[in-house]
Amino acid sequence: MFRQHVTTQLSAFAHGELSHDDSQRIAAHLRDCERCRQAYEEIILGVRLAESLALRTAPAALWEKIESALPPPTSAASSATSSVASLSAGATSHHTAPLEPEHGWLPFALNHQLLAGAAAMLVITLGLGAWWFNGPSTRAAWEVARLSGAPTIDADRINATGQLGIGEWLETDEASRAKIKVADIGQVEIDPGTRVRLVETKASEHRLELARGRMHATIWAPPRLFFVDTPSAVAADLGCAYTLEVDERGRSLLHVTSGWVALETPVRESFVPAGGACLTEPGTGPGTPFFVDASETFRRALSRLDFEHGGAAESLDIILAESRTRDTLTLWHLLSRTDDAARRRVYERLAQLDAPPAGVTRDGALRLDQTMLDAWKDQLELSWWRE
C-alpha cells in the first residue's frame, strides 16, 4: 500500500510546529513506518545536539565600546531618561513622537545648561535601572489567563490576566480555573482546587511545583525542558501532553495522552507513554506504569504490589496472568523492581509475550544489563504505541 513518508516534516513535528491534525497523522505514520521512525530518531539526535549548546555571556566591555561609538547624549535625551525612571517605577510614560528616520541619530540640540540636571537624572535612573534588572523580573514570569472564577497569584486575585513570577504561587479555589503559558514551549491548564508554584524558567529548564490539585500540560519543546515537581516524584516532559494530579497526602497520578513522560526520584524512574498512567507515593516514589485499558484486576494487583506491604507473590501471580502484549510496559519495568525469584518469573512472561531481540540474553536481562534492557525496550515500544 502506498504511504506518504513524512521525513521532511519531522523537525516541525518535534518542535510542535504542526497543526493538531498533521501531528496526529505523523504520529500515526511513525507508529507504522520503520523508515520514518529511524529518520525521526536522527532528527531527535540533531535536536538534542543543538539544544545542548550553551548560552554565552557577552564580554563585559561591550557596552562601553558601543556607547563610545554612539553620539554623546543630549539634554533632550537626558530629559527623556525620566521616562525610563517612570517605567521602572511603574508609572505611565508620556508619549513623544518617535524620531523620523531622516532626522538620523539624536537630532537634538546640545544644551549645556541642562547637562548637570541630566547627570543627576542619570544617576537616579541608573539606580532604578539596576532595580529594574535585579528586582522581580517580569521577563522571568509566565503569563496566566483566568478561565473562570477567581484564581490568585500569591493571594492576590487576578483579573483577566496576570503574571506568575519565580517563587510565586498560583491558586484556584473550587470554582476557579486558569491557564498558564509556559514560556514559549507550551501551556498548562489548572483545574479547580489546585496550587502550583513557578520554580524556575530559563532557556535550559522550566519547572513548576504542583503541591495539590490537577493540571493538564501540553508541551511542544524538545524533551527534558519542562519539569513538574510533586511531593513524591518529578515529572519530566519528553515531548508530550499529560494530566498530573496530586492529592492532599502528596500522592500523585500521571496520565499521559501524547508522547512520553518520565517520573523520577533519585532512586527510581518510570517511563510512561501515551495511554499509560503511573501512581506515585511519598516515600516510595513512582510506582510501575500501566496502560489505563489494562484489566481492573491487573491494576488493583499492581497497586498492591507497588504500595502495600505483604501479598507480593499473589499480586505478581495476578499481574503475570492478566498481562497482555501491551502490558509488557509494566513487565519491563518490573524486571528491575523485583528480586531474583520474582524477576525470573517476570522475565519468562515477558519473553513469552514478546521474545527478546537478538543480542539480549536471559542471563543479561536477569542481571539487569542496561544495554540489553534498553534494546528490549526499543522493541517492546512498538506494541506500546499500538492502540
Binding site: A80, L87, P101, L126, K179, L253
Partner: protein
C-alpha cells in the same frame, strides 16, 4: 487506596480526553507592552533605555554570532557591536506593528551573513565548495574545560551552510517559532522547516558518536 485509585484513574482518563487548546488570541500582552515602552524611550534618544535593551538581548545576540563564526570571540564581539549600533541608529524606523525581537534578529542575521560574505572573499577554498571550516582551532583548555562534546558540536555547527546555521541558532538561542525565524530570514515557514531538518540531520550524522554521552546525561 485501591478504590480511590480507580476513581482517580477514571477521572484522569476522562480529563485526558478533553482537548487542551490555548488560543493565541488569549496570549497576554504585558511583556510586549513593557518592551514597547522601552522602545519608545529609545526612540526619544534615552541612553539608559538603550542600555536596558542591550542588557536584555546581548547574551543571545552574542551567542548567535559566536556560534555563527565558529567560536571566534573577537569576531563575535565585533558582530554583536555592529548589531546594536545598527539597532540604536535605526530604532527610529521601528514601528510597533512589527515584533521588536524579529526586527532585532533580522539585523543580527544580516550582520552575520554580510560579514560571512565579506570574509568569504579572503578565506580558504573550502567555503567555495560549500564546506565552511571552523574559524577557531580548539585549544587544550577548551577541550578540558568545556568538554570535547561541546567543542565538537560548536565545530559541527560552524560547518553548516550559513543559512542552515542561522536557522539552527535562531531556533535554539532565541527560541523563535518557525514563523518568527521565517520573518527574520525573509523566507517561508516551509523553508525554515526544511533548513532545520537538514541542519538536524547533518548534526546527527556528524556527531552520531556523541549519542551515548548525550542520552546518558538524562
Amino acid at each position: 487506596m485501591i478504590a480511590e485509585t480507580e476513581e482517580w484513574t477514571k477521572s484522569l482518563v476522562a480529563a485526558g480526553k478533553r482537548e487542551i487548546v490555548m488560543s493565541e488570541r488569549e496570549t497576554l500582552m504585558t511583556e510586549r507592552e513593557a518592551d514597547e515602552r522601552l522602545i519608545e524611550s529609545c526612540q526619544r534618544g534615552d541612553r539608559e533605555a538603550f542600555r536596558i535593551l542591550f542588557e536584555t538581548h546581548k547574551d543571545k545576540v552574542y551567542s548567535v554570532t559566536l556560534y555563527f563564526f565558529g567560536g571566534d570571540e573577537a569576531l563575535a564581539a565585533d558582530a554583536t557591536q555592529q548589531v546594536f549600533l545598527k539597532l540604536f541608529t535605526r530604532i527610529g524606523q521601528f514601528r510597533h506593528d512589527a515584533e521588536f525581537t524579529t526586527w532585532l534578529h533580522r539585523l543580527a542575521v544580516n550582520v552575520c551573513l554580510d560579514e560571512h560574505r565579506r570574509r568569504r572573499r579572503f578565506i580558504p577554498f573550502g567555503e567555495a565548495f560549500g564546506v565552511d571550516e571552523p574559524r577557531v582551532k580548539k585549544s587544550p583548555e577548551e577541550i578540558v574545560g568545556r568538554g570535547e562534546a561541546e567543542v565538537s558540536i560548536r565545530d559541527a555547527i560552524a560547518t553548516l551552510k550559513p543559512k542552515l546555521r542561522v536557522a539552527i541558532l535562531l531556533k535554539y538561542f532565541e527560541e523563535l517559532s518557525y514563523e518568527e525565524i521565517a520573518s527574520a530570514m525573509n523566507c517561508s515557514k516551509g523553508t525554515v522547516a526544511s533548513r532545520l531538518n537538514r541542519g538536524h540531520k547533518i548534526l546527527a550524522r556528524r556527531l552520531g558518536h556523541l549519542r551515548a554521552s548525550l542520552f546518558r546525561g538524562e
